[in-house]
């Protein structure tokens, strides 16, 4: 059989891709946001229970060490913020093991940026402006939703108060899982399933959707605050276009001890699930200890946005060589 050496994307698409990346750089240059480049390899990795990190062995100045391929440039960029960089952005190669599909590639490009002094609302405004700038003749309205409201209107449930038993039943049925498949699963897994399978496909249709006020348990590296109903929620937003999740933004957590506690919680959960623990990034914690300016940051899957801007059906159509062909 002939070896398939050809690119995943057409050359004409790669030209368009380069043009869009130049637009991104011009967008941030006009706003005085500094472009930075941080390492792909780090001594710490992401403890996030649902991300599988790749790691490699390297001969370093300290001898043989395990180094982690970054799942996003977040930790290094936050260390720059703590060192006084001011607003920064990066087009960063990021790696998530096992993620291959029409919207996923193990190695992908993340557009991540941080805005010291910004509120979440100001960052949402900037992120939606960037998306509109990259999409050809974009005239769609930006529509805001609260997580709770989405579950209420689409599924007629309150995600914060529904009993776990009912939630498991509903998620198994609407998510097309085997009956009883979710019998031991957590609230979060059931909510993730309903969000991914039922709600997401309806978002970003004829509009750019912004989802806010996620459950506090889904805060990751975001702060938590009380919403209008007095419920504790994550200070986090996501953007959706054409049923595709594009970006995830936080009002950033700056409290080092809270951050350490969340990393430890992640590793405890990893142990419970029989997953390997990940080395906690002590340098990030030290940087937070030193002091990171208050502000907001967002990670946007630029490959997906390019895919949508060029009207391509699959992610690999905008990648020079997608993982199956790398």
């Amino acid at each position: 059989m002939a070896i398939d050496w050809r690119p995943s994307a057409e050359i004409a698409t790669l030209r368009e891709r380069a043009r869009l990346l130049a637009c991104v750089r011009a967008f941030f240059a006009a706003r005085d946001v500094l472009e930075v480049e941080t390492p792909v390899l780090g001594q710490g990795g992401s403890t996030d229970v649902h991300l599988v990190s790749l790691a490699t062995q390297a001969r370093t100045d300290k001898g043989q060490r395990r180094l982690w391929l970054q799942t996003s440039p977040e930790f290094h960029m936050k260390r720059l913020l703590a060192a006084g960089s001011g607003p920064i952005f990066q087009l960063a190669r990021s790696f998530r093991d096992g993620e291959i599909g029409s919207r996923h590639n193990i190695e992908f490009t993340m557009l991540e940026w941080y805005r010291p002094g910004f509120t979440l609302a100001e960052l949402i405004e900037e992120a939606t402006t960037l998306v509109a700038a990259l999409m050809p003749s974009f005239a769609k309205p930006v529509v805001n939703y609260r997580y709770r409201e989405l579950f209420h209107t689409r599924l007629a449930i309150d995600p914060f108060t529904i009993s776990l038993e009912k939630l498991r039943g509903l998620a198994a049925e609407r998510g097309q899982m085997l009956a009883g498949a979710l019998a031991k699963e957590s609230r979060e897994t059931c909510l993730d399933l309903l969000m991914s399978m039922v709600i997401e496909p309806t978002l970003g249709r004829g509009e750019l959707s912004v989802v806010m006020d996620y459950p506090a348990s889904q805060a990751a590296l975001a702060r938590r605050h009380q919403d209008a109903d007095g419920e504790w929620v994550a200070s986090r937003f996501e953007l959706y276009l054409e049923g595709i999740e594009l970006a995830n933004g936080y009002h950033e957590l700056t409290d080092a001890s809270e951050q350490r506690a969340r990393f430890k919680e992640d590793n405890t959960e990893r142990r419970r699930l029989g997953l390997p623990e990940v080395d906690i990034d002590e340098r990030l914690l030290a940087a937070l200890e030193h002091g990171m300016p208050e502000g907001a940051g967002v990670a946007l899957g630029i490959d997906r946005l390019i895919q949508l801007a060029l009207g391509k059906p699959r992610l690999k159509d905008v990648l020079a060589f997608a993982t199956p062909n790398c």
Binding site: D48, H50, G98, E99, I100, G101, S102, R103, H104, G175, Q176, M177, L178, A181, E185, E188, T189, D192, L193, M195, S196, M197, E200, Q218, A220, E238, E245, N248, A299, G301
Partner: protein
């Protein structure tokens, strides 16, 4: 049988689901940036032929199904069962029920090789070759000279199938038929 995890679900893999053997058609990762990953899997039920979708948590597994495709020649029917023989020289015979035979009943011809799908050594489906040559046993008389014009008429073939054929075809002629579409291809 071995168990297969969602990351091993490839097109064509045979697994057990709800007690029936299924063939995986498509496997798509569904994963929020922050949160549990799932696999949305399209499967063909090999007993019913129906294609359906199921969602699995990434990392979940299914039991493999002992399913294999074998080439066998059609021999005869006794009215209840249809009998086929392996073409590997073993002369081993399998009896197939009407239910497993399905639509293939109308494409049966002796000594033609068919693909028989076996599950736990029992025939569950029969796939005819893509093209088969069959004799016309009944059709209206052919129109002489009409070899290029459009227009068609029904013709009953020796296997019992009725297909649309060009007007110039006569009874007794052998035709090449595409069994997937049930369409006339050419004179054999």
């Amino acid at each position: 049988m071995a168990n297969y995890s969602t990351n091993e679900f490839k097109g064509g893999l045979k697994v057990m689901l709800d007690g029936d053997p299924c063939s995986i058609v498509e496997n798509e990762l569904v994963k929020p940036g922050k949160g549990q990953a799932f696999n949305r899997v399209k499967l063909r039920n090999l007993m019913t032929g129906r294609v359906g979708e199921r969602t699995f948590k990434s990392g979940d597994s299914l039991e493999g199904a002992d399913v294999m495709d074998l080439e066998m020649e059609y021999l005869y029917t006794d009215g209840d069962m249809w009998h086929f023989m392996k073409t590997d020289g073993s002369f081993e015979q399998y009896a197939v029920e009407k239910k497993a035979l399905g639509d293939t009943e109308k494409w049966l011809k002796e000594q033609v090789p068919y693909t028989i799908t076996l599950w736990n050594d029992k025939a569950i489906s029969v796939t005819p070759p893509n093209f088969i040559e069959l004799e016309v046993v009944e059709t209206d008389p052919g129109l002489k000279g009409d070899t290029a014009q459009g227009g068609s008429k029904p013709a009953t073939l020796s296997s019992g199938a009725v297909v649309r054929v060009p007007l110039f075809i006569n009874q007794g002629e052998v035709l090449k038929i595409d069994t997937r579409s049930g369409e006339y291809v050419s004179r054999a």
